[in-house]
């Protein structure tokens, strides 16, 4: 591994941090691939993952203070929750719907992350509802005088929902410490962005709510980090929300139930595969002498081993107790 070296981009990141970012991106990728493989093997009925969007995820989450800031992800955000502190084991337990999974104990669909001690807020599969929750956590931080930041992630499709509007408007009015991250991957399932909005950059909407919106190359992890850093700093200083649109691409089908060949050409996917954020970041690090081929391969090996170990652990972990299905509809004890 690299020792502490200066970040070339002037973002205040150390070399270790850059390597850690790469590691989290590779881990996210490998976990996504593993979960989809488990689906094809018939071991899990459903998989939704985010291969291709790792830069947008890791770059944004990296600007947060884990355990302190509020994290409101959506179903592709394996990279986000890894940065915040979830482990491959957490994620495989979750994908395999095991009883000890911290996210939901097998109750929620895979990739619906939750971790109270890490302040990762449980999400529904309902698109866009979580955007409002992040405004709520940020509102509480402000009311309580705490310098926490809330960050929320969602797709381009989510911007069409009424909840996205109501959330942004509320945040603007109160100048809340919240960062809206749109992982614009060009599609809402099969619907291309051109059928979802009549603007080139959806970030333009932020000015209708009185705060800045920025569009960033979502496959450039450092560019993403830079804009997230700025947004988090603004929020922490009490200067209000920011909307970040990270233009990226999902390299895989929408979910294990989707056949993306029905709505996009292989050429288009290939074109984006060439912009793979992991390959790009590796090339960048190599160019700047922060990574060599061996280090890269070692890292890939380490990632593979970790995912294997996590898979093995999770596959052997017990299923939820059937009767536990009746639990936790309401609080078991009084008070809170």
């Amino acid at each position: 591994m690299v020792s502490v070296r200066e970040s070339p981009g002037g973002l205040g990141l150390t070399g270790d941090q850059l390597m850690d970012m790469l590691y989290k991106m590779m881990l996210a990728r490998a976990i996504g691939q593993r979960v989809r493989m488990l689906n094809r093997m018939g071991k899990v009925p459903f998989a939704v993952t985010g291969e291709g969007q790792e830069a947008a995820q890791v770059g944004t989450a990296y600007a947060l203070a884990p355990g302190k800031d509020w994290v409101v992800p959506y179903y592709r955000d394996i990279g986000v929750v890894l940065v915040i502190g979830q482990t491959p084991r957490d994620l495989l337990l979750e994908a395999l719907a095991r009883g000890e999974s911290v996210s939901s104990g097998g109750r929620n669909m895979p990739s619906h992350f939750s971790d109270p001690k890490l302040r990762i807020v449980s999400g529904a599969a309902v698109v866009a509802t979580q955007i409002v929750h992040a405004v709520g956590t940020a509102f509480a931080s402000k009311l309580r005088g705490l310098d926490e930041v809330s960050m929320v992630w969602f797709g381009d499709g989510a911007t069409s929902e009424g909840d996205c509007h109501e959330a942004m408007n509320f945040a603007g009015i109160h100048g809340l410490p919240v960062v809206f991250v749109c992982e614009h991957n060009q599609y809402a399932i099969s619907v291309p962005w051109t059928k979802q909005m009549a603007v080139e950059n959806v970030s333009v909407r932020a000015q209708g709510y009185g705060f800045p919106g920025v569009t960033v190359d979502g496959n450039d992890v450092l560019a993403v980090y830079g804009s997230a850093r700025e947004a988090v700093d603004r929020a922490r200083r009490g200067e209000g929300p920011t909307f970040i649109e990270a233009k990226t691409y999902r390299l895989v089908p929408h979910t294990s139930d989707d056949d993306d060949r029905r709505y996009r050409s292989r050429e288009e996917v290939e074109k984006w595969a060439k912009k793979d954020p992991i390959i790009r970041f590796q090339a960048y690090l190599q160019e700047h002498g922060l990574l060599d081929a061996k280090e890269r391969d070692d890292l890939a090996m380490k990632v593979a081993e970790e995912v294997d170990a996590a898979t093995e652990y999770a596959e052997n972990a017990p299923l939820p107790d059937p009767e536990s299905a009746l639990k936790h509809v309401f609080a078991e004890e009084k008070g809170r």
């Binding site: 999974s101 619906h112 109270p116 807020v121 409002v132 309580r144 909840d163 509320f170 309401f330």
Partner: protein
């Protein structure tokens, strides 16, 4: 002890809880100005603009922001100005507030109270009159309270605010200023999930809630005086969780059950009450489980003559009591 009407009791409950627990806040449309029914009157002055918060006109955000805030150490009371306008927030209530604890395997809880004036009888027309308890009483993970007296309102609202789970607190708006009844000044709570026998009787059980409680009590007086029929009147107070025991105990005694509700007949919450009685008190029944409710038209047309035609009232209830008693 002082005489209060129901809207004052609601206000007192909030004010006392905000005093007791600094985490409690109120948010909603026009609440800083006291609310359209004056239920939040004075809270801004007492607790300041950080605890009595006007929101933009956006019900989904009102509930969704309350949910998020409740995860971060705040105990929100969200006001929906009229229950008719709760529908835009349906998704946040049903998909989110009610399912958060379950889907996170107990990891997260959502201690919010959503208050809404509901019900007809004030010439509110089809958008200021609706009953929504059947929709929400059907949702696991959500508690639903329907109050119609000052005493119950104060005690149950305090319980709702202190409850670790989301509570939809429905206040019948026609009952807001209907009576001034004794309400203790001191702190007290009424457990969520307990019905109350508001009138003892032996011939027939009237099971009801909300404004229909008052109509049922009136009808019970009438049939006692005119026909010598002794009607027991049960006020459910909480729709969910439902107090089956109190219902069944009464029906086992009287053998006759009349379920009275203001909402549309078909699929109203009274259907659930009737179904429980039909299944669990079958051996005790001396007559058909009978329902009095509004016909299946939008509640309620505006013109007085139309509204009156549609809604149940003491006379309609009394006539159903007589029919069932004579069965």
């Amino acid at each position: 002890m002082a005489e209060k009407n129901m809207v004052e009791a609601v206000r007192d409950a909030m004010s006392e809880e905000m005093e007791r627990d600094p985490r409690v806040i109120v948010l909603g449309e026009d609440v800083a100005n006291g609310g359209v029914f004056r239920a939040t009157q004075g809270l801004l002055d007492e607790f300041g603009p950080d605890r009595c918060i006007d929101t933009p006109l956006a019900e989904s955000a009102i509930v969704g922001v309350a949910i998020g805030a409740s995860l971060n150490g705040v105990i929100p009371i969200a006001e929906i100005q009229f229950a008719d306008f709760i529908h835009p927030a349906m998704d946040q209530i049903v998909s989110e507030a009610a399912r958060l604890r379950y889907r996170s395997n107990g990891g997260w809880g959502c201690p919010i109270t959503i208050r809404a004036p509901y019900g007809a009888g004030i010439h509110g027309g089809p958008y200021h009159s609706q009953s929504v308890e059947a929709i929400y009483g059907h949702v696991p993970g959500l508690k639903v309270v329907c109050v119609a007296t000052p005493y119950d309102a104060k005690g149950l609202l305090k319980s709702a605010i202190r409850d670790p789970d989301p509570v939809l607190f429905l206040e019948h708006k026609r009952a807001y200023r209907l009576h001034r009844w004794d309400v203790p000044d001191e702190d007290y709570t009424i457990p969520i999930g307990e019905a109350e026998v508001k009138r003892d009787g032996k011939d027939i059980s009237l099971i009801t809630y909300g404004m229909m409680l008052h109509h049922a009590l009136k009808a019970a007086e009438t049939v006692e005086a005119e026909d010598g029929i002794s009607a027991e009147v049960i006020d459910l107070r909480t729709i969910s969780p439902l107090d089956k025991e109190t219902i069944l105990k009464s029906v086992e005694k009287t053998g006759k059950a009349l379920v009275v509700y203001e909402d549309n007949l078909t699929g109203g919450f009274g259907a659930e009450v009737a179904a429980i009685i039909a299944q669990e008190a079958f051996d005790f029944l001396d007559g058909p489980v009978t329902r009095v409710a509004s016909p299946d038209v939008p509640i309620a047309p505006y013109a007085g003559v139309l509204e009156e035609y549609v809604l149940p009232n003491p006379a309609k209830i009394a006539s159903a009591i007589r029919d069932l008693a004579a069965y």
